[in-house]
């Protein structure tokens, strides 16, 4: 598997199509490129999102906290947490990044286009579509932080629904 990193802006439409073409057929995810992005979500809330077909995984926590407290992390260098925090974001970034904007960024839209439109720098890691935690451990670059398994469950009557996050 090739793992590359570059700005989403530098990935042309044709190139994205070519990346998608190399993925297994028959999957919804195969038509899209997966990539990670970081977003200043609200004051004191930062996230790293991995989009496969929709936002797939998030990482919040120790590494980001360290970065905010002044530790330099090579892994987080592409993510402009501190620049965003100090309002030094590059021209074109619209702040604050609101929940409403997140809502409009529905899982079905082209996330690369959305991020480029809002001037949000993202680091790209290419990987085949993954459906399970086991697959993600094999196919996705290793990232720091807690690994979680997210389950969408219902009660017997279908009256109540639960999103359950447990340790993977």
């Amino acid at each position: 598997m090739e793992v590359g990193s570059r700005s989403v802006r530098n990935v042309s439409r044709a190139e994205r199509a070519s990346i998608a073409g190399n993925l297994p057929a028959g999957s919804v995810a195969s038509r899209r490129t997966a990539f990670l992005c970081s977003i200043a979500f609200r004051d004191n809330v930062y996230l790293i999102a991995d989009s496969n077909h929709g936002f797939k995984m998030i990482g919040v926590g120790e590494l980001v906290a360290g970065e905010l407290l002044g530790d330099k992390s090579a892994l987080l260098t592409p993510f402009p947490f501190l620049a965003l925090r100090r309002g030094q974001a590059s021209p074109g970034i619209k702040q604050p990044f609101s929940v409403e904007l997140m809502r409009r960024a529905s899982p079905r839209m082209d996330l690369a286009t959305f991020l480029a439109h809002h001037g949000i720098a993202a680091q790209l890691f290419e990987h085949p579509p993954v459906m399970t935690v086991e697959e993600s451990e094999r196919l996705v670059p290793r990232l720091p932080g807690a690994k979680t398994k997210n389950l969408f469950l219902r009660d017997k009557k279908g009256a109540r629904h639960f999103l359950v996050t447990v340790s993977a």
């Binding site: 809502r103 993954v130 969408f152 469950l153 219902r154 017997k156 629904h161």
Partner: protein, 55 residues
Amino acid sequence: MALGAQLGVGRLGFASAERLMKHLGITPGSVSLLALVNDASHAVEFVIDRRFVGR
């Protein structure tokens, strides 16, 4: 104790892809905390393992 019992709802099962789309607006394989942003009617209750809290 089983999770369903802890939540006081009895047996829990996986919700269908249709319910996943209806309530969280995503397809199977995409389930994460972030999908809650799509649950405008607050139909989904969030449950997280205590080990992730307050570390």
